[in-house]
Structures are given as structure tokens and as C-alpha cells.
Amino acid sequence: MGSTSTKIKLRTSDQKVFEVEKAVAVQSQTIKYIYENGCPDSVIHVHSVSGDILSKILDYCKKHVNSAAGKEDISPEELYEWDANFVKVDQNTLFDLILAANCLKIESLLDLTCQTVANMIKGKRPEEIRTTFNIKNDYTIEAEEAVRRENKWAFDMLGGVGTMVIEELADDTMSKCVTNTKSRVCVIAANQIVMMRSISKLANKKSIDVYKQPQNPTTPRIKESVKQRNVGTGFIELFFHFKCKM
């Protein structure tokens, strides 16, 4: 009849049955498809998801549906915090949530959980990643060495490029970002004039090559190259390349 309190029944892999409001259940594109193309009265089997995990997922979906519909008075910041707490679970649960969100096609939950794991991986060496996720190193010594060798090209031994977006560039911020990096730094800033002053100071203090391709030839006497690019927001990104001679 199109009533707003239509319920959908979901049965999990461990035979638990959940009765859920339609609006919440169809957050899952998979369930939505089955519901719209199958018989709406029978139970939908979610084979690959356990009761515990589905319960958590339904909490998430309910929270987000209610907040979007204005049924719950919660600000975007509060929702963001709620999400952050939602993913503070043990690893097994987190991984199960990812697999379930993937299978049920719940995009926002998949993004949230995957980003959490991605953040735990970013910048870490393989040994560290293994420790974080309790991964057994099943490689033989020879096999591991072979894989390392063939992928050596992808790793920059000098350390990566640090990128910072600084809108009002202060001189001491500038020196901080240069001294904190082992090799090179890209600084994106909107205030070209302040940047020029900072660079001159630093170039004298530390042996730094600063390259700039001037748009309007301006003061600094050091060789400088800047790639100037207009970006959608209207800010001009100035890329500075510093080669720190250590």
C-alpha cells in the first residue's frame, strides 16, 4: 500500500531473522534490488552475513536514514563522530563489516570502513602492516626477496614528498615544513608574496635549490621554478620543489 512503515524480513547466515523498516533495509543496494525484483513478502536471505554483523550494519543504516530524514536531531559533526566511534571495533569485526558492506552494496558504510583500514596502512612498511593486522608472513626467504626486488622501483628510499596546503603562509611554518622532510617538499600556498620572502631566507640558511618559473618576473634573485595551476576553487596552487642537499 506504500505505507512508510513497510517492514522487510532478513535472515542471516546463522539463521537469525531481523524485521527492518524498508527505508533502512534498502540502504543496501543488494537488498533493494532483491526486494524490488522478487516477492516483497518473503524473507530475504543474506547468506554471507552473520547476525552480529547485520545487527551492527542495521544500526548504521538506521542512524543515517534517521539523520537524513530529520527524524533525529543530529548535526553533521555529531554524525561524523558517531561514525568514528562506530568503527572502533576489533579487527575481525572491522573486516567482517567491510566484507558485508561490500556484499550488501552499502556505499557509505563501505567507504567508512575501508578508509579506516586504509588509514592504518598508509605509509607503513610491510613489517608494520603485518603486525597491525596479524598477518603471517608465509613467504619463503627467497620468494620474499624476489618480490621485493621486482617492486623496488616503487619505493623512494629518500622518503616521500610531503604536501601541505597552507593558505596564509608564515615564515616559520615554511621553515618547519622544509626541515621536517628528509628530501623534498611540495608546498601549496595561496600567498605568493609571503612565500617568496620565506624562500629567500631559507635558501640562504640551508643549501636548498629552489626552482621557480615566474609568471610575472618578480624580485627573488635565486633561481626558482613554480608550476602555477588554476584549480576549481579559484586558488592558485604553487608547487615549489625543494631539493634538500643533506
Binding site: 605509509g123 607503513k124 616503487a154 592558485i236 620543489h241
Partner: protein, 351 residues
Amino acid sequence: MEVEGEEQTSIWNKETVPKVMKIVSTRLAQRDLISLLLLSPWIHRTLISYPSLWLSIDLREMNNAGDRLIAALSLPRYQHVKQISLEFSQDIDDDHLEVIKSKCLGSLQDLESLNLNGCQKISDKGIEAVTSCCPKLKVFSIYWNVRATDEGVKHLVKNCKYIVDLNFSGCKHLSDKSLQLVADNYPELESLNLTRCVKMRDSGLQQVFVKCSFLQSLNIYALSSFTDEAYKKISVLSHLKFLDLCGAQNLSDDGLSCIAKCKKLVSLNLTWCVRVTDVGVIAIAESCTSLEFLSLFGIVGVTDKCLEALSKSCANTMTTLDVNGCIGIKRRSRDDLLKLFPYLRCFKVHS
């Protein structure tokens, strides 16, 4: 209990972790993605079996880029690579590209996008070598390459028939010959960046306008030698959305009024177009009703009148407006501008 624990560990390592890593991998930068390969043979096998993860090689700003590229391209998983970026990398020259041509020919057959921005050691020879390997190339960018000449462009158009996006910004030796080659060979061209190609003149540019009628993005930043002869012909580009005319000191109101015929314009940069007055800008306002980004920086000949005209047609779409230095406009404080353009977010483009 012992056996059950081992089984759990086995499932964790051989199934759960590889599956999850595959799902997460699309959100990882190249370096982190490849770190995953080193974790365990199960993860390695799972990730390698998904070709969609290995369509891009990112060597931006890395040293020894030539050697790194050759190493990457010799790996089977990159046989169908679609996108390679060597932007601002170092130590890549013509010799590396010759090696790639002779050894890794097969791997570049599917390449669609090649970024050689800032690779200043590459010359026409290198351009010939690399373009001869990638017949399907669509996007080619060699920003700030001062060795590239019209010869290099000749090789490009001979080898790559499907280019839609070209960036020659800063390639100061390219002349009208290159423009003729582009016009004759790329009728489907959508995006062209000629920033600082100072040898180019009106006649070359006109060729492009006439033959590349699908252009959506045109950047002729800092090219003061063009005149209304060329600017007027921009009017035929009915699909044009993005136009950068910064520094077009010869652009008159006449020229700008012709440009106004490009009704789909979304972004227009008129910084330092010092001959322009209200007449030209009002023509734009009346015709280009979807304008979101406009810079009038440094134009002293415009007044509040043109802002009123712009507000009438583009108040709902304008999000970036730079009128710094426009001393003819009396009411141009942040508040004044927000009254006319309520969705403005950015007030400064040029610094």
C-alpha cells in the same frame, strides 16, 4: 582447540585478509598498494589476479625515473597499463624511452594517458620513441619541455591518432607548424593548453579553431602576440566551457563580444586583458549565463555596470570572481560582491 585456532588463522591469512585488502586497495596510493604485495603470497596472488588494480604507474617526482619506469613495465601485471605519470620526475631521458621502445613495446599498447610534465631531458627523439609505442594515446602532456620542437609534434600526430587532450604549456619552441599539425590531425580535440608557446601567431590558432570544433577547454595564458584576428574566431567553438586568456593585452571589446557567442562558457579568465571595458564584459554577461568562474583582475576599464549585468544573468552560478585591481568598480568589497552574487566562495584568483 589447537587445530581450531590454526584453522582460524589459516582462514584469516588465506581468505579474509586477501579479500579485504582487495576491496581496500582501490583507496590506496601506489606505494601502499604495492606494499600489500609484500605482505604474504596469498595477498599477492589475490591482488595480482585483478587487472583493474594495475592500470596506472605513478612516478611523479621520483628520481631515477627512467630506470624505475623500465622496471615497472617489465612486470607482467602492467601489460595493459592505461596511465603513466612522470610529472616532475628526474633522470629520465631519450635513451630510456628508446629502451622502452625496443624492450617494452607490448606494455604500452593500451596506454591512454602520458604525463611528461617537467621532464626536461626529453627531446623530439624521446617523443618519437615513446609515442611509437602507444597508438591508443588520448591524453598527452609535456608541460615545460623546452627541447620539444615541431618535429616532435610531427611524430606525435603520425603515431597517435586519437588524442583528445594536449598540454604544450611552456613548450616555447613550438610554432604555428605544430598548430597546423594538430588542426589537421585531431578534429575531435577537446582540450588544448598553449600557455607561453610564444612563437605561435594568429594564423596558427585560427587553423585550430576552424578544424577542432569540439574544443571544450582552451588555455592561451600569457600569449600577448595574438590579436582580435584570432580571438574573434573563438566564437565558432560552440562547446567551449573553459577559456584562459590571461595576459591577452590585444583583446578588445569587439573580440570579447565575439567570444560571448560561446554560450556554454563556465570559466573565463580575463586577467590583465587591459583593453577590455564594460562593453565586452556585458556582452559576455548577456550570453554566457552559466558562468561560474570569472577573473577581471587588473582591468581598469570596467565599472559597476558590468557587475550588475553579470549579476542579472549569473547570480546563481557564479562562485569565483576576482575583481582585484579593478579600480573602475567602486563597490567591490566582499559584502558588495556577495549582495550581487550570493554563492561566491572565492574572491581571488590572481596574486
